[in-house]
Amino acid sequence: MSAYLNTRVSLYSGRLWQMADFEAVLKIPDAEMADALGSRGLPQLAAGFDHRDQRSLEQRIIAEVLDETKVLIRPLTGAARSFLIYWTERFEVSNVKTLLRGKMTGERPAALINRLTPMGAFGRLDVQDLAHAEDVSELLRRLEAGPYAGIVRHARRAFEESHDPFILDAALDRGYYEGLAHRAQPLENEAGAAFRRLMGTLIDRINLVWMLRYRFNYNLPPAQVYFLLVASHYSLPSQRLRELASLGSPEAILDGLPEQLRSVLRDAPDIPGVFARMENAASETATKVLHSGAPAIARAFAYLILRERDLRSVRAILRGRALDLPADDIRVAMYQTTEGIA
């Protein structure tokens, strides 16, 4: 099966975009856009290009990712399969957050359902039922009886104590990534260093960016910041995270990083800059893994990381064009994408 998956990943890797592809899509007329997207391996985006609806664009991008993940998952079993399925679940966790925010603002169920990302075969939530919950408490209780009980239970208790939406979001995010790291552990033993590198770049980036945001944007005390981070055994293990969280400025934190990360982030202007640089570094790692003889699951994961990076850039282009932004501004947004796809 790994031979099949390897072949599949190699075939898919031909779909990854080169700089010339982005430039071409940036320049071509609207009438040719659907063909251009279709011929570059983005049939879902090509089919709905004329919709011009940003929500629908986001949904189609995720549909594209889910379609490809479905194909990659097919030959997998055990921990590898469970890991990739869980990787798609962050879109559903994002739906959970949308539902919670909708309930906080009293949004009507139909409008709320419309904003959710269709998960297709990966969907585990009964969104109709959840959208019709009367308030956040009822929604959380219903979620707790569902597939995301593990993530939600903790978040609910935290929310009940504080009634702070930030705490709810942070608890959900942390719960999700703790689960991801937990599922990655058996694969790190089986799939070795390549897979570990990919997970390392992901979790280190999340921890560092969250730490900077929580510490200096939200002014949370160090102990609380540390608690909100994902337990890690990569370049930034727990002890190092504790030390960093106790430091008093972003510069001090960046200076306190291990040399490998410090060199990547030297002179990073701000937190979005840190994110962009770490994401670029993660893409480089993923590209190396994809083109190496690493185990199939590591290559598949690397492909998905790169594919999502491409799709984020395509999203920036399509959004920019829809807003009639100048090409140079779109380029800036494209190369310094500061938000995750989920």
């Binding site: 903790h154 935290a158 608690f227 969280a245």
Partner: protein
């Protein structure tokens, strides 16, 4: 019974304000299946907001009825009208208010339950606190240098919280675990207590209020706990009474809400298929049986007195794929319908195979599992499980009966072949005859499927396929000729020359048809034609031989019984009968199951795959209640 009922497409245009009533009328009519309808002139979807409001009302009503319970059976008054959108919005506002009132009462109940659990935990904790060997009064002093918290948090978080607390100079020490909760004491410098509080709220910490009594004498603490339990119990009685009051207060309103939701359901359901409109007009489209059109017209006339426009259209042959299938079955045949539908729904106009399926399936099962005793067990078990299995048990009853009939013909009862004389023949003593009969049955079955396929193709407008394809009449000619030729070669008839000529004509027609139908280069046409023609012969041959399993399983049944008897005969009296009983149980469960599957397999793969497309759409009528 052999084909779907003829349907017509209706398009009903009416005032948008009357669309809920029109849908209700169609649901009352009981036999209208909504279908997609999107004429360019009607570009709006007037039923969408209605559906959204209805879904909200339905969800709230269901929740409230579930919580309040005890509502009687729903009766729908004769002339009741469907709620309008404004009615539904108003209903939603009312339901929201009721929900909030009930929710606070319900939350009160939940809080009491939680308090009871909390007291339980407190009592358990008390014992442990007594053993902490610390002066709690001193420890929990509000003016001390140390800030101390006693409480619970998720066990999984203890390590992380401990590490984070260490950053504030605090310590955590767990002293108990209940479920997934860990009970712990947290102590740290009072000046950093705000940091600790923020962290704990993030970590799902729940403070355990230690009452003053608990801080002094354990005996007093236990008395305090008993008083607390009493207080909570009184609170519970009050909350229950409040809930009962609410139930009484809102019961009639909820019954009314349930009725309105039921009456609004038809339009909300129809909206999923698409109700289109523009301005003050709305249009519904769907399918109704041709024979009921006049009845529908008069029912609409009676309700709307000409304030509608009804267009009726007979579906064209090429539209057959869009028309749903409505087939009526007699009660005794209905249990077999799911078995056919698990393969597929008959397309509109297609031959419905349920009746021949039922007969053939039972015949094959009986032939492969003929035994009076085993059949009787299946029959009795099915009767015994009738309540549990519903109408599906009827298949077991019929299969058991047919098995008993074949048991009589084979002279077999619980595997014993010497108790009764076979009315026909014992498979074990006449294996060749059984094989011949099984293959002959297969030939007859395949001929039937080819004829049905030709008929299906013809009615669907594919006349060439019906006449010349390998599964049409040309294939049938070839098959009959080949069978005649083989029978003649085996000495069963003297028709070799005409038979082979017939087969030759048949296969030539098939080959020519394949040649004409293949639009490709010469080389590819040669390849496709030769392979597909060859495949025709091989398939029909293999499918015919497939029926040998019928004889094989009838022999297998006897052989298994013989194996059981051989084992039993080697034991003492008790062992003998135990082996006989257990052996028969194994035969019934294992072989019975295999034979049931094999019979189904023969029907699906040798039968259905030849003539039954199964890609039809089910006729799902709008119903007044109980529809999804």
């Amino acid at each position: 019974m052999f084909r779907a009922e003829p349907l017509v497409r209706i398009r009903l245009l009416m005032l948008a304000s009357e669309a809920p009533d029109a849908a209700l009328e169609l649901a009352r009519f009981g036999i209208f299946s909504p279908a997609q309808y999107a004429p360019p002139a009607l570009s709006e979807s007037p039923a969408e907001p209605y559906r959204d409001a209805w879904l909200e009302a339905e969800s709230r009503t269901s929740k409230l009825v579930e919580r309040c319970g005890g509502l009687g059976e729903l009766t729908i008054p004769e002339g009741a009208a469907a709620p309008t959108l404004a009615d539904l919005n108003e209903l939603n506002d009312w339901l929201k208010g009721v929900w909030q009132a009930c929710l606070s009462a319900h939350e009160g109940e939940a809080r009491i339950q939680e308090e009871v659990r909390h007291l339980d935990a407190l009592e358990e904790t008390l014992g442990k606190l007594e053993r902490l060997n610390v002066d709690l009064a001193q420890l929990l002093r509000a003016d001390g240098l140390l800030a101390v918290n006693i409480g619970s948090l998720p066990s999984a978080s203890v390590k992380r919280v401990g590490e984070a607390l260490a950053m504030t100079g605090s310590l955590v020490s767990t002293f108990d675990h209940v479920g997934d909760q860990a009970y712990a004491v947290i102590a740290g410098p009072r000046e950093r207590h705000d940091e600790v509080r923020g962290l704990l709220s993030q970590a799902g910490w729940r403070e355990l209020p230690v009452p003053p009594e608990l801080r002094t004498h354990p005996k007093e603490a236990r008395a305090w706990l008993a008083d607390e339990r009493k207080r909570v119990e009184e609170l519970n009685v009050r909350e229950c009474a409040a809930m009962d009051t609410l139930r009484g207060k809102y019961r009639s309103g909820l019954e009314e809400a349930r009725l309105r939701v039921t009456l609004g359901r038809p339009l909300a359901e129809a909206a999923t298929a698409g109700v289109r409109g523009r301005g003050g007009l709305a249009g519904l489209s769907g399918w109704v049986p041709r024979r009921r059109v006049d009845e529908l017209k008069s029912s609409l006339e009676g309700r709307f007195h000409g304030r509608y426009w009804l267009d009726i259209e007979i579906p064209k042959r090429e539209e057959a794929g869009q028309v749903p299938s409505l087939v009526r079955y007699p009660v005794w045949l209905k249990p077999f319908v799911p078995l056919v539908k698990s393969y597929g729904v008959p397309r509109y106009g297609e031959f419905d195979p349920t009746l021949p399926f039922a007969f053939t399936y039972l015949l094959l099962f009986g032939a492969m599992f003929g035994d009076i005793g085993h059949g009787a067990v299946i029959l009795l078990l099915s009767l015994g499980l009738f309540k549990k299995m519903g109408k599906g048990a009827w298949i077991g009853v019929a299969a058991g009966t047919v098995s008993m009939l074949f048991g009589l013909l084979y002279g077999s009862i619980f595997g014993y072949e010497d108790i009764i004389h076979p009315l026909w023949m014992s498979p074990l003593h006449h294996p060749t005859q059984m094989l011949t009969l099984a293959v002959s049955f297969g030939v007859g079955f395949i001929v039937l499927t080819l004829l049905v396929n030709a008929r299906n193709k013809y009615t669907a407008g594919h006349v060439e396929e019906a006449l010349f394809d390998s599964t049409g009449l040309a294939g049938l000619l070839f098959y009959l000729g080949a069978v005649g030729g083989v029978v003649s070669m085996a000495g069963g008839a003297d028709l070799a020359t005409p038979s082979w000529m017939l087969a030759g004509i048949g296969i030539t027609i098939v080959a020519l048809y394949k040649w004409i139908e293949t639009h490709a280069s010469i080389g590819e046409r040669v390849l496709v034609t030769s392979i597909e023609t060859l495949e025709t012969g091989i398939n029909l041959f293999a499918n015919t031989l497939s029926f040998m399993r019928v004889a094989a399983f009838s022999l297998n049944h006897v052989a298994l019984a013989l194996a059981v008897f051989t084992l039993a005969n080697g034991m003492g009296t008790a062992g003998h009968w135990l082996t006989i009983v257990l052996g028969n149980v194994v035969i019934i469960v294992l072989e019975g199951g295999i034979v049931a599957i094999q019979a189904l397999r023969l029907m699906y793969y040798e039968g259905f795959s030849r003539f039954f497309s199964g890609d039809g759409t089910e006729f799902v009528p709008l119903k007044l209640a109980g529809v999804k």
